[in-house]
Amino acid sequence: MSGKVLVITSGKGGVGKTTTTANLGTALAMMGYKVVLVDTDIGLRNLDVVMGLENRIVFDIVDVVNENCKLKQAMIKDKRFDGLYLLPAAQTKEKTAVSPHQMRSLSAELKKEFDYVLIDCPAGIEQGFKNAIAGADEALVVATPEVSSVRDADRIIGLLEAAGLAISRLIINRIRPKMVRRGDMMDIDDIIDILAIKLIGVVPEDEVIVVSTNRGEPAVIDYTSKAGEAYRRIARRLVGEEVPFMVLDYNEGLFDRFRRMLKLAAR
Protein backbone atom coordinates (compact mmCIF):
# COMPACT_ATOMS: atom_id res chain seq x y z
CA MET A 1 0.00 0.00 0.00
CA SER A 2 1.21 3.47 -0.73
CA GLY A 3 -0.69 6.31 0.82
CA LYS A 4 -0.62 10.02 0.27
CA VAL A 5 1.34 12.54 2.28
CA LEU A 6 -0.50 15.85 2.64
CA VAL A 7 1.07 18.85 4.32
CA ILE A 8 -1.27 21.41 5.89
CA THR A 9 0.41 24.80 5.79
CA SER A 10 -0.36 28.53 5.75
CA GLY A 11 2.63 30.73 6.42
CA LYS A 12 0.75 32.89 8.87
CA GLY A 13 0.08 31.57 12.35
CA GLY A 14 -3.32 31.23 13.94
CA VAL A 15 -5.33 30.62 10.79
CA GLY A 16 -6.30 27.07 11.75
CA LYS A 17 -3.67 24.64 10.46
CA THR A 18 -3.79 22.45 13.53
CA THR A 19 -7.58 22.51 13.74
CA THR A 20 -7.74 21.63 10.04
CA THR A 21 -5.27 18.76 10.45
CA ALA A 22 -7.15 17.33 13.42
CA ASN A 23 -10.55 17.60 11.72
CA LEU A 24 -9.56 16.30 8.29
CA GLY A 25 -7.66 13.42 9.86
CA THR A 26 -10.60 12.49 12.05
CA ALA A 27 -13.04 12.83 9.14
CA LEU A 28 -10.91 10.51 6.98
CA ALA A 29 -10.69 8.00 9.84
CA MET A 30 -14.49 8.19 10.23
CA MET A 31 -14.72 7.18 6.57
CA GLY A 32 -12.63 4.10 7.37
CA TYR A 33 -9.24 5.18 6.11
CA LYS A 34 -6.02 4.55 8.02
CA VAL A 35 -4.65 7.95 8.95
CA VAL A 36 -1.65 9.29 10.85
CA LEU A 37 -1.34 12.92 11.94
CA VAL A 38 2.22 14.19 12.23
CA ASP A 39 2.92 17.29 14.30
CA THR A 40 6.08 18.97 13.00
CA ASP A 41 5.78 22.08 15.16
CA ILE A 42 8.72 21.12 17.36
CA GLY A 43 8.92 23.27 20.47
CA LEU A 44 5.31 24.46 20.14
CA ARG A 45 3.33 21.28 19.82
CA ASN A 46 -0.45 21.60 19.90
CA LEU A 47 -1.98 18.87 17.79
CA ASP A 48 -1.89 16.57 20.83
CA VAL A 49 -4.09 18.86 22.92
CA VAL A 50 -6.48 19.53 20.05
CA MET A 51 -6.87 15.76 19.68
CA GLY A 52 -7.09 15.29 23.46
CA LEU A 53 -4.14 12.90 23.50
CA GLU A 54 -1.59 15.00 25.41
CA ASN A 55 -1.43 12.73 28.44
CA ARG A 56 -0.46 9.67 26.40
CA ILE A 57 2.79 11.00 24.97
CA VAL A 58 5.89 9.03 25.88
CA PHE A 59 8.04 9.34 22.76
CA ASP A 60 7.91 11.93 20.01
CA ILE A 61 9.06 12.62 16.46
CA VAL A 62 12.57 13.60 17.59
CA ASP A 63 12.92 10.29 19.45
CA VAL A 64 11.89 8.52 16.25
CA VAL A 65 14.38 10.24 13.94
CA ASN A 66 17.15 9.84 16.51
CA GLU A 67 16.21 6.17 16.83
CA ASN A 68 15.64 6.39 20.59
CA CYS A 69 12.50 4.38 19.98
CA LYS A 70 10.68 2.56 17.22
CA LEU A 71 8.18 4.41 15.06
CA LYS A 72 5.38 2.19 16.40
CA GLN A 73 6.20 3.11 20.00
CA ALA A 74 5.88 6.83 19.34
CA MET A 75 2.56 6.68 17.50
CA ILE A 76 -0.42 7.31 19.75
CA LYS A 77 -3.68 5.59 18.93
CA ASP A 78 -6.69 7.88 18.95
CA LYS A 79 -9.21 7.25 21.72
CA ARG A 80 -12.25 7.45 19.44
CA PHE A 81 -11.39 5.98 16.06
CA ASP A 82 -9.51 2.88 15.06
CA GLY A 83 -7.01 3.51 12.34
CA LEU A 84 -6.28 7.06 13.53
CA TYR A 85 -2.85 7.77 15.01
CA LEU A 86 -0.84 10.78 16.14
CA LEU A 87 2.92 11.21 15.94
CA PRO A 88 3.53 14.09 18.36
CA ALA A 89 6.18 16.81 18.11
CA ALA A 90 8.83 17.23 20.79
CA GLN A 91 8.17 20.11 23.15
CA THR A 92 11.60 20.56 24.68
CA LYS A 93 13.66 20.57 21.48
CA GLU A 94 14.17 22.94 18.57
CA LYS A 95 13.16 22.79 14.92
CA THR A 96 16.69 21.85 13.92
CA ALA A 97 16.35 18.56 15.82
CA VAL A 98 14.86 17.12 12.61
CA SER A 99 16.20 17.53 9.07
CA PRO A 100 14.29 17.59 5.76
CA HIS A 101 16.12 14.41 4.81
CA GLN A 102 14.88 12.65 7.95
CA MET A 103 11.34 13.87 7.27
CA ARG A 104 11.47 12.43 3.77
CA SER A 105 12.40 8.98 4.99
CA LEU A 106 9.87 9.20 7.83
CA SER A 107 7.10 10.14 5.38
CA ALA A 108 8.10 7.30 3.08
CA GLU A 109 7.96 4.90 6.03
CA LEU A 110 4.51 6.12 7.14
CA LYS A 111 3.14 5.98 3.60
CA LYS A 112 3.64 2.22 3.58
CA GLU A 113 1.34 1.80 6.60
CA PHE A 114 -1.29 4.48 6.12
CA ASP A 115 -3.74 5.68 3.48
CA TYR A 116 -3.22 9.29 4.52
CA VAL A 117 -0.33 10.97 6.29
CA LEU A 118 -1.36 14.49 7.35
CA ILE A 119 1.52 16.76 8.31
CA ASP A 120 0.74 19.76 10.49
CA CYS A 121 3.23 22.44 9.49
CA PRO A 122 4.47 25.16 11.86
CA ALA A 123 3.89 28.83 11.01
CA GLY A 124 6.70 30.61 9.22
CA ILE A 125 8.91 29.72 6.27
CA GLU A 126 12.03 28.61 8.10
CA GLN A 127 13.40 25.18 8.96
CA GLY A 128 10.13 23.90 10.40
CA PHE A 129 8.32 24.64 7.15
CA LYS A 130 11.09 23.08 5.08
CA ASN A 131 10.92 19.95 7.23
CA ALA A 132 7.15 19.72 6.97
CA ILE A 133 7.00 19.94 3.17
CA ALA A 134 10.06 17.75 2.54
CA GLY A 135 8.23 14.46 2.32
CA ALA A 136 4.86 15.74 1.12
CA ASP A 137 3.09 14.71 -2.09
CA GLU A 138 0.46 17.44 -1.95
CA ALA A 139 -0.19 20.59 0.04
CA LEU A 140 -3.33 22.05 1.55
CA VAL A 141 -2.91 25.77 2.08
CA VAL A 142 -5.10 27.26 4.79
CA ALA A 143 -5.97 30.95 4.61
CA THR A 144 -8.47 33.19 6.31
CA PRO A 145 -10.15 36.05 4.41
CA GLU A 146 -7.75 38.65 5.77
CA VAL A 147 -5.11 40.66 3.96
CA SER A 148 -2.24 39.36 6.06
CA SER A 149 -3.26 35.74 5.72
CA VAL A 150 -3.82 35.89 1.95
CA ARG A 151 -0.50 37.64 1.45
CA ASP A 152 1.33 34.94 3.44
CA ALA A 153 -0.58 32.21 1.60
CA ASP A 154 0.65 33.69 -1.69
CA ARG A 155 4.23 33.51 -0.45
CA ILE A 156 3.74 29.92 0.70
CA ILE A 157 2.24 28.88 -2.65
CA GLY A 158 5.29 30.36 -4.37
CA LEU A 159 7.61 28.39 -2.08
CA LEU A 160 5.63 25.19 -2.61
CA GLU A 161 5.89 25.65 -6.38
CA ALA A 162 9.61 26.27 -6.09
CA ALA A 163 9.95 23.10 -3.99
CA GLY A 164 8.27 21.18 -6.79
CA LEU A 165 5.09 20.21 -4.98
CA ALA A 166 2.78 19.37 -7.84
CA ILE A 167 -0.59 19.93 -6.24
CA SER A 168 -1.58 22.68 -3.84
CA ARG A 169 -5.16 23.28 -2.91
CA LEU A 170 -6.69 26.04 -0.83
CA ILE A 171 -8.91 25.86 2.25
CA ILE A 172 -10.53 29.15 3.17
CA ASN A 173 -11.10 29.09 6.89
CA ARG A 174 -13.20 31.19 9.26
CA ILE A 175 -15.28 32.88 6.63
CA ARG A 176 -18.17 34.93 8.02
CA PRO A 177 -21.02 35.02 5.53
CA LYS A 178 -22.61 38.02 7.22
CA MET A 179 -19.47 40.11 6.89
CA VAL A 180 -19.03 38.97 3.30
CA ARG A 181 -22.55 40.09 2.48
CA ARG A 182 -21.91 43.43 4.15
CA GLY A 183 -18.83 43.86 1.93
CA ASP A 184 -16.53 43.83 4.92
CA MET A 185 -14.83 40.54 4.20
CA MET A 186 -13.27 39.24 1.02
CA ASP A 187 -15.36 36.47 -0.46
CA ILE A 188 -14.23 33.18 -1.95
CA ASP A 189 -14.01 34.51 -5.51
CA ASP A 190 -11.86 37.46 -4.46
CA ILE A 191 -9.34 35.19 -2.78
CA ILE A 192 -9.24 32.62 -5.58
CA ASP A 193 -8.85 35.44 -8.07
CA ILE A 194 -5.81 36.76 -6.23
CA LEU A 195 -4.13 33.46 -5.38
CA ALA A 196 -4.94 31.58 -8.60
CA ILE A 197 -5.10 28.20 -6.88
CA LYS A 198 -7.65 25.40 -6.81
CA LEU A 199 -10.11 25.57 -3.94
CA ILE A 200 -10.90 22.41 -1.98
CA GLY A 201 -13.15 23.81 0.70
CA VAL A 202 -14.54 26.70 2.66
CA VAL A 203 -14.98 26.49 6.42
CA PRO A 204 -17.26 28.96 8.16
CA GLU A 205 -16.37 30.60 11.46
CA ASP A 206 -17.94 28.40 14.11
CA GLU A 207 -18.03 28.68 17.90
CA VAL A 208 -18.16 24.90 18.09
CA ILE A 209 -14.44 24.88 17.15
CA VAL A 210 -13.57 26.69 20.38
CA VAL A 211 -15.72 24.34 22.44
CA SER A 212 -14.37 21.23 20.75
CA THR A 213 -10.78 22.40 21.17
CA ASN A 214 -11.47 23.00 24.87
CA ARG A 215 -12.62 19.42 25.14
CA GLY A 216 -9.96 17.89 22.91
CA GLU A 217 -12.53 16.54 20.47
CA PRO A 218 -12.41 17.52 16.79
CA ALA A 219 -15.57 19.31 15.56
CA VAL A 220 -16.20 16.79 12.77
CA ILE A 221 -17.69 14.36 15.28
CA ASP A 222 -20.35 16.96 16.11
CA TYR A 223 -22.98 16.68 13.38
CA THR A 224 -24.59 19.98 14.35
CA SER A 225 -21.39 21.92 13.68
CA LYS A 226 -21.18 23.87 10.42
CA ALA A 227 -17.38 23.82 10.47
CA GLY A 228 -17.51 20.07 11.15
CA GLU A 229 -19.77 19.61 8.12
CA ALA A 230 -17.37 21.67 5.99
CA TYR A 231 -14.41 19.52 7.08
CA ARG A 232 -16.30 16.30 6.36
CA ARG A 233 -16.97 17.58 2.84
CA ILE A 234 -13.31 18.47 2.32
CA ALA A 235 -12.31 14.98 3.45
CA ARG A 236 -14.65 13.48 0.84
CA ARG A 237 -13.14 15.71 -1.85
CA LEU A 238 -9.69 14.58 -0.74
CA VAL A 239 -10.56 10.96 -1.50
CA GLY A 240 -11.86 12.00 -4.90
CA GLU A 241 -15.61 12.37 -4.43
CA GLU A 242 -17.48 15.20 -6.09
CA VAL A 243 -19.14 17.12 -3.28
CA PRO A 244 -21.01 20.41 -3.73
CA PHE A 245 -19.79 23.39 -1.74
CA MET A 246 -21.76 24.25 1.34
CA VAL A 247 -24.28 27.04 1.02
CA LEU A 248 -23.02 29.57 3.51
CA ASP A 249 -26.04 31.69 4.15
CA TYR A 250 -27.49 33.01 7.31
CA ASN A 251 -31.08 34.09 7.56
CA GLU A 252 -31.27 37.55 6.21
CA GLY A 253 -32.36 40.16 8.67
CA LEU A 254 -34.84 42.89 7.82
CA PHE A 255 -32.10 45.44 7.52
CA ASP A 256 -30.10 43.24 5.15
CA ARG A 257 -33.10 42.81 2.92
CA PHE A 258 -33.78 46.55 2.92
CA ARG A 259 -30.20 47.27 1.96
CA ARG A 260 -30.23 44.71 -0.78
CA MET A 261 -33.35 46.27 -2.24
CA LEU A 262 -31.70 49.65 -2.20
CA LYS A 263 -28.62 48.17 -3.82
CA LEU A 264 -30.69 46.66 -6.60
CA ALA A 265 -32.55 49.92 -7.12
CA ALA A 266 -29.29 51.82 -7.43
CA ARG A 267 -28.07 49.73 -10.33
Binding site: G43, L44, R45, G52, E54, N55, V58, K79, Q91, T92
Partner: protein, 223 residues
Protein backbone atom coordinates in the same frame (compact mmCIF):
# COMPACT_ATOMS: atom_id res chain seq x y z
CA UNK B 1 25.94 33.50 26.94
CA UNK B 2 28.43 31.43 28.83
CA UNK B 3 31.48 33.13 30.29
CA UNK B 4 34.86 31.91 29.13
CA UNK B 5 35.66 30.34 32.45
CA UNK B 6 32.71 28.02 32.37
CA UNK B 7 33.38 24.71 30.68
CA UNK B 8 30.75 22.19 29.91
CA UNK B 9 32.22 18.83 30.71
CA UNK B 10 30.29 16.49 28.42
CA UNK B 11 32.23 13.36 29.38
CA UNK B 12 31.15 13.54 33.01
CA UNK B 13 27.92 15.37 32.31
CA UNK B 14 28.58 18.51 34.28
CA UNK B 15 30.04 21.98 34.34
CA UNK B 16 33.46 23.18 35.48
CA UNK B 17 33.65 26.75 36.72
CA UNK B 18 37.08 28.33 37.16
CA UNK B 19 37.51 31.12 39.67
CA UNK B 20 40.49 33.42 40.01
CA UNK B 21 42.54 32.09 42.97
CA UNK B 22 44.43 35.39 43.37
CA UNK B 23 41.47 37.28 44.81
CA UNK B 24 39.85 37.23 48.23
CA UNK B 25 36.86 35.07 48.98
CA UNK B 26 34.35 37.90 48.70
CA UNK B 27 35.41 38.69 45.10
CA UNK B 28 35.42 34.99 44.35
CA UNK B 29 31.83 34.74 45.51
CA UNK B 30 30.85 37.67 43.29
CA UNK B 31 32.57 35.97 40.36
CA UNK B 32 30.78 32.74 41.01
CA UNK B 33 27.40 34.50 41.23
CA UNK B 34 27.96 36.31 37.93
CA UNK B 35 29.06 33.15 36.19
CA UNK B 36 26.29 31.01 37.52
CA UNK B 37 23.70 33.57 36.47
CA UNK B 38 25.08 33.54 32.93
CA UNK B 39 24.27 29.84 32.64
CA UNK B 40 21.04 29.31 30.77
CA UNK B 41 18.12 27.27 32.00
CA UNK B 42 18.88 24.21 29.91
CA UNK B 43 21.76 23.34 32.24
CA UNK B 44 19.63 23.55 35.34
CA UNK B 45 20.27 20.71 37.71
CA UNK B 46 23.74 20.08 36.33
CA UNK B 47 26.61 19.00 38.55
CA UNK B 48 29.23 21.69 39.01
CA UNK B 49 32.88 21.42 39.79
CA UNK B 50 34.39 24.65 41.07
CA UNK B 51 38.08 25.01 40.31
CA UNK B 52 39.75 27.46 42.70
CA UNK B 53 43.35 26.82 41.71
CA UNK B 54 45.55 26.73 44.79
CA UNK B 55 43.33 28.89 46.96
CA UNK B 56 42.33 27.53 50.34
CA UNK B 57 38.82 28.05 51.62
CA UNK B 58 37.07 27.16 54.84
CA UNK B 59 34.23 24.74 55.25
CA UNK B 60 31.77 27.57 55.73
CA UNK B 61 32.98 29.29 52.59
CA UNK B 62 32.53 26.04 50.68
CA UNK B 63 28.98 25.88 51.96
CA UNK B 64 28.35 29.45 50.85
CA UNK B 65 29.43 28.47 47.36
CA UNK B 66 27.17 25.46 47.42
CA UNK B 67 24.31 27.72 48.43
CA UNK B 68 24.96 30.08 45.49
CA UNK B 69 24.78 27.13 43.13
CA UNK B 70 21.64 25.76 44.73
CA UNK B 71 19.89 29.11 44.40
CA UNK B 72 20.47 28.90 40.68
CA UNK B 73 19.35 25.32 40.33
CA UNK B 74 22.82 23.79 40.15
CA UNK B 75 24.42 21.13 42.27
CA UNK B 76 27.94 21.09 43.63
CA UNK B 77 29.94 18.06 42.59
CA UNK B 78 33.15 19.19 44.26
CA UNK B 79 35.42 22.12 44.89
CA UNK B 80 38.78 21.36 43.34
CA UNK B 81 41.70 23.02 45.03
CA UNK B 82 45.36 22.28 44.47
CA UNK B 83 46.04 23.60 47.97
CA UNK B 84 45.23 21.32 50.87
CA UNK B 85 41.62 22.44 50.79
CA UNK B 86 38.74 21.10 52.80
CA UNK B 87 36.88 20.11 49.67
CA UNK B 88 36.91 16.31 50.21
CA UNK B 89 35.86 16.77 53.80
CA UNK B 90 32.95 18.97 52.76
CA UNK B 91 31.90 16.35 50.30
CA UNK B 92 32.07 13.59 52.87
CA UNK B 93 30.10 15.60 55.34
CA UNK B 94 27.42 16.26 52.75
CA UNK B 95 26.85 12.56 52.46
CA UNK B 96 26.70 11.93 56.19
CA UNK B 97 24.29 14.69 57.15
CA UNK B 98 20.75 13.94 58.28
CA UNK B 99 18.12 13.77 55.53
CA UNK B 100 17.03 17.21 54.34
CA UNK B 101 13.39 16.56 55.17
CA UNK B 102 10.81 13.81 55.36
CA UNK B 103 7.43 13.38 53.73
CA UNK B 104 4.92 11.42 55.79
CA UNK B 105 1.81 9.66 54.59
CA UNK B 106 -0.59 7.76 56.86
CA UNK B 107 1.72 4.77 57.20
CA UNK B 108 4.90 5.58 55.30
CA UNK B 109 7.80 7.95 55.41
CA UNK B 110 9.96 9.13 52.52
CA UNK B 111 13.19 11.02 53.04
CA UNK B 112 15.03 13.44 50.78
CA UNK B 113 18.80 13.14 51.07
CA UNK B 114 21.31 15.88 50.38
CA UNK B 115 21.64 14.83 46.75
CA UNK B 116 18.91 17.37 46.19
CA UNK B 117 18.74 20.49 44.08
CA UNK B 118 16.43 23.30 45.02
CA UNK B 119 14.97 25.22 42.13
CA UNK B 120 13.21 28.47 42.87
CA UNK B 121 11.18 29.19 39.76
CA UNK B 122 8.26 28.05 37.67
CA UNK B 123 8.82 25.63 34.83
CA UNK B 124 6.85 26.61 31.74
CA UNK B 125 5.92 24.66 28.64
CA UNK B 126 8.97 23.49 26.73
CA UNK B 127 11.34 23.82 29.70
CA UNK B 128 12.84 20.74 31.20
CA UNK B 129 14.87 19.99 34.26
CA UNK B 130 17.02 16.93 34.61
CA UNK B 131 18.98 15.98 37.69
CA UNK B 132 20.46 12.67 38.78
CA UNK B 133 19.48 13.19 42.45
CA UNK B 134 16.31 14.57 44.04
CA UNK B 135 14.60 17.73 42.87
CA UNK B 136 12.66 20.20 44.97
CA UNK B 137 10.88 22.92 43.05
CA UNK B 138 9.58 26.06 44.71
CA UNK B 139 7.10 26.88 41.99
CA UNK B 140 4.73 25.35 39.46
CA UNK B 141 5.35 22.85 36.68
CA UNK B 142 3.10 23.93 33.83
CA UNK B 143 1.65 21.62 31.15
CA UNK B 144 4.31 20.89 28.54
CA UNK B 145 7.18 21.19 31.03
CA UNK B 146 9.18 18.16 32.14
CA UNK B 147 10.99 17.29 35.33
CA UNK B 148 13.15 14.19 35.29
CA UNK B 149 14.97 13.05 38.42
CA UNK B 150 17.13 10.08 39.22
CA UNK B 151 15.61 10.28 42.69
CA UNK B 152 12.40 11.82 43.98
CA UNK B 153 10.57 15.01 43.06
CA UNK B 154 8.82 17.44 45.37
CA UNK B 155 6.89 20.34 43.87
CA UNK B 156 6.06 23.13 46.31
CA UNK B 157 3.38 24.32 43.96
CA UNK B 158 1.16 22.80 41.26
CA UNK B 159 2.42 19.92 39.15
CA UNK B 160 0.52 20.09 35.85
CA UNK B 161 3.22 18.95 33.44
CA UNK B 162 5.16 15.71 33.24
CA UNK B 163 7.23 14.39 36.14
CA UNK B 164 9.49 11.35 36.01
CA UNK B 165 11.01 10.18 39.29
CA UNK B 166 13.49 7.34 39.54
CA UNK B 167 14.37 7.83 35.88
CA UNK B 168 17.31 5.44 36.17
CA UNK B 169 15.07 2.69 37.46
CA UNK B 170 14.75 3.49 41.17
CA UNK B 171 11.24 2.32 41.98
CA UNK B 172 11.40 3.67 45.54
CA UNK B 173 11.39 7.22 44.16
CA UNK B 174 8.31 9.36 44.74
CA UNK B 175 6.59 12.38 43.20
CA UNK B 176 4.94 14.77 45.63
CA UNK B 177 3.23 18.09 45.05
CA UNK B 178 1.07 20.59 46.87
CA UNK B 179 -1.27 20.21 43.92
CA UNK B 180 -0.79 16.94 42.07
CA UNK B 181 -2.54 17.03 38.68
CA UNK B 182 0.13 16.02 36.15
CA UNK B 183 -0.43 15.48 32.43
CA UNK B 184 1.54 12.32 32.94
CA UNK B 185 3.41 10.85 35.86
CA UNK B 186 6.23 8.34 35.67
CA UNK B 187 8.08 6.49 38.40
CA UNK B 188 10.93 4.22 37.30
CA UNK B 189 9.41 2.34 34.35
CA UNK B 190 5.76 2.93 35.31
CA UNK B 191 3.75 5.43 33.27
CA UNK B 192 0.38 6.72 34.44
CA UNK B 193 -2.00 9.35 33.21
CA UNK B 194 -5.29 10.76 34.39
CA UNK B 195 -8.30 8.77 33.16
CA UNK B 196 -10.21 9.98 30.10
CA UNK B 197 -13.55 11.63 30.40
CA UNK B 198 -14.34 14.11 33.13
CA UNK B 199 -11.37 15.94 34.60
CA UNK B 200 -10.61 14.89 38.17
CA UNK B 201 -12.04 17.14 40.84
CA UNK B 202 -9.26 19.28 42.21
CA UNK B 203 -8.56 18.70 45.88
CA UNK B 204 -7.02 20.97 48.46
CA UNK B 205 -4.81 18.13 49.65
CA UNK B 206 -1.12 17.75 49.12
CA UNK B 207 -0.55 14.42 47.45
CA UNK B 208 2.28 11.96 46.91
CA UNK B 209 2.64 9.25 44.29
CA UNK B 210 4.74 6.16 44.83
CA UNK B 211 4.91 2.54 43.82
CA UNK B 212 3.14 0.07 46.08
CA UNK B 213 2.79 -3.59 45.06
CA UNK B 214 3.85 -2.80 41.52
CA UNK B 215 1.27 -0.06 41.06
CA UNK B 216 1.45 3.70 41.27
CA UNK B 217 -0.71 4.86 44.18
CA UNK B 218 -1.56 8.37 45.30
CA UNK B 219 -1.99 9.40 48.94
CA UNK B 220 -2.10 12.51 51.05
CA UNK B 221 1.09 13.53 52.81
CA UNK B 222 2.55 15.96 55.30
CA UNK B 223 6.02 17.45 55.38
Amino acid sequence: MLCEDILIDRSRGGIVIRLDPETDFHTMKQQLKAKVQSIDGSLMGALVEIDIGNKLITRNEAREMEEILAQNGLQLRCIASKGRGPAPAVKKEMEQREPLFRLRTRDQEFTFSHETVLVKRNLRSGQHLHHPGNIVIMGDINPGAEVVAGGSILVMGALRGMAHAGAEGDSTAVVAALKLCPTQLRIANHITRSPDGEPIAETEDTEIAYIKDGKVVIEKFKI
